[in-house]
Every structure is written in C-alpha cells, then in structure tokens.
C-alpha cells in the first residue's frame, strides 16, 4: 500500500516516537476534510470515501470497501473526522515504516477497529483481512496467533494483542533493517558491475 507521490497526505508525517501528527498537520488535515465534506455534514459517505482513497493510494476496490466497513464503526454509512484521522495515521505509519510502532503505541484503538463484532476478541480471519494495512505477512500473522493466542481458540483478547504488538514491532524493525541492507547490497553490486564494464 503506497500513498500517491505529490498528494496532500504524502507531505504529512508522523512523529517517530509517539506516532502522532503535529498540531499543525492536524489543523491542515481538518481543513482538507472540510474541503472533502461536500454535503456539509462533517462526514464522508462511501462514494466520496472510495474516490478519495482510490485517488491517494494504490489500494484496490475491495480493500477500500473493507477499510470503510472497518472505520464505519457505527454502521451509518458515513465516516467522521475522528475515523478519517485514524485512517490517515495508519496510512502514514505504513508509508513511514512505523506500522509496528504505531500498533504498539495505539494498541487500544487498533484493537477496537479490528474487533469487528465488538465481542472483545479479534479472530485470525478478521485480522488476516486487514493485514495489508499493517504490513504483516501471512506467516507472521499465523505465528503471532500461535504464540500469543494463549486461550487456544484462535482469538486474541486485548492483553494478548498488546503483547503481540510488542513482539511484532521488534520483528518488523529487524525485517525492515534486513530489507534495507539487501537493497543497499544490490545497489552496490550493480554500481560495481557498471564500473567494471566502463573500465573494460
């Protein structure tokens, strides 16, 4: 999932420690939401939401509707600024490779979002639907449920989920460092081979 380069959201960023927007950025975001609020109800309906997300990200239609259903926690068919803000923070966390940190810092709201039926438990099936938002691989998710689903029912309560976020944040950091290192090595190798060709 990527933000479109040059879009308004692309210029925002989260604080790396607390994973929050600055006050100025929130003010700008509020103004942006106000512009998008065509019908003057301080909300975005599903059509406007779809076109907004389709314009600023590379998410597919099915993913966008999944996100809308997740955010429309009152099932009114519209989302307000609070949910919009949450969405933007998740998008930026993904963009800035802070998914693990974000889930750890905001474990309660993230848990409430993923707890789709409100029973205080997240099922593996539901979490899997939304793993694209948090950059979790399929196997990583399986391992998390296996290691932290202490009740053995393939469901996570909040405490288990909180522990997950701690471990996952570390795992993700290590994975990202490895990926960056590999990227750097690949670049160096290609530069070296180019130089060799020039010398010949």
């Amino acid at each position: 999932m990527r933000l479109k380069e040059g879009s308004f959201l692309w210029y925002l960023y989260l604080d790396k420690v607390h994973c929050l927007l600055s006050v100025r950025s929130v003010k700008a975001l509020e103004e942006y939401f106000h512009i998008l609020d065509v019908h003057g109800k301080n909300t975005l309906n599903d059509v406007l939401f779809y076109h907004f997300l389709h314009h600023v990200t590379d998410l597919k239609k099915a993913q966008i509707y999944l996100v809308f259903d997740m955010l429309d926690w009152n099932a009114v068919g519209e989302i307000g600024f609070e949910q919009f803000y949450m969405l933007v923070c998740m998008l930026l966390a993904h963009q800035d490779h802070l998914e693990g940190q974000f889930m750890y810092r905001h474990s309660r709201p993230v848990f409430d979002l993923l707890d789709l039926n409100g029973d205080g438990r997240i099922s593996a099936e539901n979490f899997a639907k939304y793993r694209f938002l948090f950059n979790i691989h399929k196997q990583e998710l399986k391992d998390l449920f296996h290691d932290f689903g202490l009740t053995g029912d393939n469901l996570l309560n909040y405490q288990e989920f909180k522990m997950c976020t701690i471990i996952y944040a570390n795992k993700l950091q290590r994975r990202q460092k490895t990926e960056e290192k590999e990227k750097g090595d690949r670049k160096r190798r290609s530069l070296y081979s180019k130089r060799k060709c020039h010398i010949k």
Partner: protein, 158 residues
C-alpha cells in the same frame, strides 16, 4: 535600514523565509520541517523582534517629549518618520497573529486541486448510481463549480 537587519527570517517584501513556514515544497518529502526542531523559540524570536521595534519607536517618542516645542515638533516629525519607516518594514503584530492561525496558500491550492480531481470522478459515480437529477448529485455539481471558480479567481489574482 534593510528588512533583513530588522527582522530575521523576512525578505524585503515582508514575506517569511523561516523554516517553520515551509509547508509545501514540490519534490521534497517533509511538510513543515520546523515541527521536527523546536518551533516555539523561532516564533518568540520573530515576535520579540517585532515588539522590540515597536517599543523602540514608542520610547523614542516618549523621550523626545521633554524638549522645547519647535524642536519637539521637529523631533516628533523625525520620530514619526522613523516609526513610519520601521512600520513600513516591520510586519504588524496582528498580521502575524492572524497568519499563525491560517493555512498558507500553496497548501490550500494543493488540497483544492486534489479535491477537484476526486470530485470529478465521484460525480460520475453519483450520476450513474443515483441519477443526474438527484439532489446530492446537483449539490456535488454546484460544489465543484464553486471550487473551480475559487481556483480561477486565485489564478487570476496571481
């Protein structure tokens, strides 16, 4: 006295060149990098400088009140001239207070342009989904026209 000596962070036209005001620069990643560093000290420096200059102007007037009338008038003239010169170059405090709570124009332009692109596509969905005559479709259409008018006004002014 050149503006740059009076007010750090402003050019001759009274526009801020401070880091804290850089919201949008094409090609760069970060928005408002001033938030990364401490924001308040820079602001205080600007406000402190403005206050200093305004206070300097008024204290000059107070001190000169003790001289005789003719020289008083002359002195007042020269102090008011220097105050005028300072006032010409020093942005008014109220102006900066207002600027603090308003979004810079390039950012608004970016947001509105993006919104227009989103709404143009949304309008097609509205027309195909609920019909051209539905009040929501007409509302969206009017909104788009309003945004376009605002944009062309801005371009015309620039």
């Amino acid at each position: 006295m050149p503006l740059s000596e009076v007010c750090e962070g402003f050019n001759a036209e009274g526009r801020s060149i401070s880091k804290t005001r850089r919201w949008y620069s094409p090609g760069s990643r970060s928005l408002d990098e001033g938030d990364k560093a401490s924001h308040k000290p820079e602001e205080l420096d600007e406000n402190a400088l403005v206050e200093l200059e305004l206070h300097r102007g008024s204290s000059m007037e107070i001190n000169l009140g003790e001289k005789d009338t003719a020289s008083q008038i002359q002195a007042e003239k020269s102090s008011s001239m220097s105050s005028l010169n300072i006032a010409k170059h020093t942005p008014h405090q109220a102006y900066w207070a207002e600027q603090q709570s308003r979004l810079p124009l390039p950012l608004m332009e970016l947001m509105e342009n993006e919104a227009l692109e989103i709404f143009t596509k949304a309008l097609r969905s509205y027309q195909s989904g609920i019909g051209r005559d539905h009040f929501l479709t007409k509302e969206l259409q009017r909104y788009i026209e309003g945004l376009k008018k605002r944009r062309s006004k801005r371009l015309y002014v620039n």
